[in-house]
């Protein structure tokens, strides 16, 4: 199973929104994922609140009619969705903003590295070079604004770029992302 397949198999509400964000970016609407996440959270919370009036609230002096099963299911779904999106946003905000790694290659001065988000655009800020002696690098980004980093792209002039899939547990533990770069002529 490829890195990409594994990555996309773990769908959560945030990942779903990120996918929508990626599709919007393809048609020219390149918004930072946090805007879409905030909008989705708002809409979902509104629906949950609206449905809660049918399912939970009692009107004063009146007996509440028994809620329809469909309303209960919809209410539960929206509550879960709101919680999912909210937790996802918090989870992203709590992710470390630094990704560290090491590239092995014979010409380290020519290696460039960048983090890419769900819409395949670079999200890392600052440096893109690696240590000339041991190939280590540290890339910084804003997981709250741009969502979690999906891939590490390693490029060397004249060679095909190499993408390394990044996973949430790896980002949380700040473990070293290691890759030996092999130059395939581009």
């Amino acid at each position: 199973m490829s890195d990409q397949t594994l990555n996309t198999a773990v769908w959560g509400p945030i990942d779903l929104i990120d996918a929508v964000s990626a599709q919007l970016a393809r048609v020219g609407l390149d918004l930072p994922p946090i805007w879409l996440q905030a909008a989705a959270l708002l809409v979902s919370a509104l629906f949950a609140w609206k449905l809660s009036q049918q399912v939970l609230l009692k009107k004063r002096g009146k007996t509440r009619p028994k809620p329809k099963p469909a309303a209960i299911v919809a209410f539960t779904a929206f509550v879960l969705l709101t919680l999912g999106i909210g937790l996802g946003i918090v989870d992203n905000a709590l992710l470390p903003s630094q990704v560290v790694g090491r590239v092995q290659f014979e010409r380290l001065n020519e290696v460039r590295v960048a983090l890419h988000g769900s819409s395949d655009t670079p999200i890392s800020v600052g440096t893109d070079v690696v240590d000339s002696i041991d190939g280590r690098f540290a890339l910084h980004y804003s997981p709250f604004r741009d969502g979690r980093a999906r891939t590490l792209r390693i490029t060397v002039a004249g060679c095909k770029p190499v993408d390394v899939g990044l996973f949430r547990p790896q980002l949380v533990s700040e473990s070293l992302v290691e890759r030996t770069f092999k130059c395939e002529q581009s």
């Binding site: 290659f105 380290l108 001065n109 540290a138």
Partner: protein
């Protein structure tokens, strides 16, 4: 009670403030060919644009206040990228993790000094070795094998056997790092005299250079004369130019067990080279971090000194000398 609480709050706030305002200063030292390099332009980058950090002084040093240059505090365990540029030198980028040390030694390679001793073809052949990482591998120049059948095959056999002899030996020395060790055979056109071999080694940034010649068998034995040059340098210690002579039978040269016939000196010299490399890699500023790094080197050098066996006194004098230097530094 209330006053006490107020005091406690103030002290806590002061403590937090003191921690927050702690200077984040790196002492940089730029070296090339065992000499300090002045006038190296240094830039620093964190979560934003590249910032000019200044130039190294006449001692090749620069004291860099990260917070002052970047305009923001670097979080503990976060890394900044430092870039070093000077005309006539290969550019160097170094990663510095805040909180791990306060000093960073930066090795630069002069393009002109070493490269002028090598032909363009030799430079191209050695290029892949240059950035393999902190003087890891050993460079083997093909042996001159006049009058010996299938010289290429013999050279490949010798490379494999030397690598096995060296790596297994170093692995048996507790504490010595073997991760980057390996013997690389690179065909170069230049001569095998000591100064030329030094130039190959310095250009390719390797741990040691091995070269030599083998004479056609006499009385069924082939004599292999090798030179072993340690490339990392230490101001306080002169590494020997080592000569290792082996006698192997014609049949043994193609045997998988050839490494067992090779002398112990190969391993011991490599331990010596690793020690010089590790001493150079220790933080330059005196303090607990430097001491801890030197203690590690002392441990495996001490283990090497006390390892007995036949011919165990070869290069023992050099090990003793290095241990004396380490003891002086550690105490």
């Amino acid at each position: 009670m209330r006053t006490k609480l107020k005091r406690l709050l103030w002290f806590t706030l002061l403590g937090v403030f003191a921690l927050g305002s702690q200077a984040q200063t790196i002492e940089l030292t730029v070296m090339a060919d065992n000499a300090r390099v002045p006038g190296v332009s240094v830039t620093v980058q964190y979560k934003g644009p590249l910032r000019e950090a200044g130039e190294t002084d006449s001692q090749g040093q620069l004291s860099l206040d990260l917070q002052g240059k970047l305009g923001q505090r670097v979080a503990e365990r976060d890394a900044v990228t430092l870039s070093f540029r000077k005309l006539g030198f290969d550019p160097v980028n170094r990663l510095f993790t805040v909180g791990t040390s306060s000093a960073l030694a930066v090795p630069m390679t002069s393009r002109s000094a070493v490269a002028s001793q090598l032909t363009q073809a030799d430079q191209t052949a050695l290029e892949p070795l240059r950035n393999l990482g902190a003087n890891g591998p050993l460079l083997l120049l093909p042996y001159e094998l006049n009058g010996i059948a299938e010289p290429d095959q013999v050279n490949r056999r010798l490379r494999a056997s030397l690598e096995r002899r060296i790596v297994t030996y170093v692995q048996s020395v507790a504490g010595a790092r073997t991760a980057e060790l390996g013997v690389r055979l690179v065909v170069v056109a230049g001569s095998r005299d000591v100064s030329q071999m030094q130039a190959y080694g310095r250009y390719s940034n390797v741990l040691a250079v091995i070269g030599g010649e083998a004479k056609p068998p006499r009385g069924g034995k082939m004599q292999i004369e090798s030179k072993y040059l340690i490339i990392p340098k230490l101001q306080e210690f002169e590494a020997p130019v080592a000569y290792v002579d082996e006698f192997v039978t014609e049949g043994e040269i193609n045997s998988a067990a050839l490494h067992r016939q090779l002398k112990r000196a190969w391993g011991r010299l490599t331990v010596l080279a690793l020690a010089i490399r590790d001493i150079n890699a220790a933080p330059a500023a005196p303090g607990s971090e430097r001491k801890a790094a030197l203690v590690k080197v002392r441990q495996y050098l001490g283990a090497e000194r006390s390892s007995g066996g036949p011919n165990s006194d070869e290069y023992l004098k050099e090990i003793e000398e290095l241990l004396t230097y380490l003891d002086r530094e550690i105490r």
